[in-house]
Amino acid sequence: MTAPARRRDPLGMACGAAAFAVAAAFAVLVAFLAVEARPVANPGFLLEMPSRMADGAGVGPALAGTLWLALLTAGLAVPVGVGTAVYLEEYAPRTRLAALVGSALASLAGTPPVVYGVAGLALFVRGLGMGPSLLAGGCTLAALALPTVVVASRAAIRSVPQGVRLAAYGLGATRWQVVRGEVLPAAAPGMLAGVCLAFTRTVGAAAPLLVLGAVSFMTFAPRGPADPLTSLPTQIFAWTKRSEQDFAALAAGAGVALLLVLLAMNLAVLAVRRRMEDASR
């Protein structure tokens, strides 16, 4: 297809305009955050405590809370989710129950995050007596991430060619040796991609934590899972709700901090994936 013919096509022009409008909206979003966050662009902002005064307030506790939540969520959702995926793909007898568990987990991916917060409030915060702590937040976010982790891991495991398994069994490997030595290494890059996507959504989730009872005014940085629940997304929410202009700058600044955390996480995972793929080649 030659360029002039493409250019004269009205549908192509309309679709191109729509695509560039989407790109422009993204550019406006980024520019808004950058301009709005300018007043708080100093390293102290990442360490300071939030305050009743906008001046000198920071995201120290919220940032620490988000890092704790990411750690807790990863520690809970990744082993359980990957284990579930391996079991369903490689171990489970092909019964109706296994199929039901698999499809139920897949359909849970359509559940609104805020509903996990409501259920987590009844189960973790009240039922199991965790209170509005980072631990309750981590458990809730892990439950939120779990279906996506399982679905992505199963897809990655399924994409490993059957010949790899057959060859290993043919050489006398046991099932676990096949899984540990062949299937998991081959599926790992794909799993990481899916898990990372799940985590970007989960670490940025504000609604479930808000329902659990996240606090946005802490005078110390949380040091363990039993400390009060606080996080960057809920801090952004609290600051955005205040109508004063100074707090809008804080909200945008916290938004930039959150985006940087997510970007760093994605880049780290990308680097690990590259190394894995190079190593397997």
């Binding site: 790109a23 579930t84 079991y87 489970a92 359509g110 409501v118 609604a207 329902v211």
Partner: protein, 305 residues
């Protein structure tokens, strides 16, 4: 599909790891399923307790939602209507934009533009919804108010625009997959018959991918239904139902997020109302999601023929 059913596979268990692996992995599955069943269970129990006190008939037919009033009323219709309004509004902006972007990327864009715009949609997908909410309230709403001075500080239009932007990546990703699955020969055949590129795209390729595109729309709308932060921040918490896009309203999700159930005592009507609203929200978004998944699976089966 897997080796699991090959005779003798894994029959010989040597080390400790081999003997432990099966039970440990089964325990993971039980833990995963158990947690999710427990979460669904508490939701059901609390909603059930609420409906033991409030008649479900009145819940679904009355148009008055004042859970914190002296004499609380629990008619869910205004919340349901607001959720439907925001979802429809987001669809009006997000679906055409996403679909046209997908068509452009798949059938028109050069390799470089394609790569750049794909990266932009991936980045849009990674933006947390609370950041979108901040953008809606602090940028889009002031812009709307300077255009139409009568616009309220909390308004549906701002929420619809930004939720629409939020669902664009979902629409693009899924409808591109549908467009990709249409055989390239159709395009070549159409062009060879002398049809213009636009005509082939509009009359042949998009109709051929329609099942997948409709599925993409359903899955994206399911996300819009459950969207909480953007609507809470931008559309506010206004109890009065309204048709004006320049006024605020209150969706199911906004009620759940703003009612502060963490402060309500267990067993109170206000606490139960949050669970009842969550159950309604769940039914709404699962309905859309299930319809989308059904269409995706039907398309897959159709494609195998």
């Amino acid at each position: 599909m897997t080796v699991a059913r090959l005779p003798g596979a894994g029959a010989a268990s040597h080390g400790l790891a081999d003997r432990l692996a099966g039970p440990v992995l089964l325990a993971c599955t039980v833990a995963a399923a158990g947690t999710l069943v427990a979460l669904a269970g508490v939701l059901g129990v609390e909603a059930g307790r609420f409906f033991a006190q409030v008649s479900p008939v009145r819940f679904f037919t009355e148009a008055d939602w004042t859970p914190f009033a002296e004499e609380p009323r629990f008619g869910v219709l205004p919340l349901l209507a607001a959720t439907a309004q925001i979802t429809a509004g987001a669809g009006v902006f997000g679906v055409p934009a996403g679909l046209m972007t997908a068509v452009y990327l798949e059938h028109y864009a050069g390799a470089r533009t394609e790569r750049a715009l794909t990266a932009v949609t991936a980045l849009l997908a990674g933006v947390p919804t609370v950041v979108y909410g901040c953008f809606a309230l602090d940028f889009v709403t002031p812009a709307l108010r300077s255009l139409w001075p009568g616009t309220e500080a909390f308004n549906a239009l701002s929420a619809c625009l930004v939720v629409g932007l939020m669902i664009v990546p979902t629409v693009v990703l899924l409808s591109r997959a549908a467009l990709k699955s249409v055989p390239a020969q159709l395009m070549e055949a159409g062009l060879a018959l002398g049809a213009s590129r636009g005509r082939v795209v509009a009359r042949v390729l998009v109709p051929a991918a329609l099942g997948g595109i409709v599925a993409a729309v359903f899955l994206a709308l399911a996300r819009a239904v459950g969207e909480t932060m953007i609507v809470t921040l931008a559309a506010g918490n206004q109890a009065q139902p309204t048709w004006s896009p320049l006024e605020g309203l209150r969706t199911l999700t906004a009620f759940i997020a703003q009612s502060g159930p963490g402060g309500a005592p267990s067993g109170s009507l206000q606490y139960g109302a949050v669970f009842a609203a969550s159950a309604v929200l769940l039914a709404f978004s699962w309905g859309l999601h299930a319809a989308g998944m059904f269409l995706v699976s039907r398309r897959r089966r159709g494609g195998a023929r």
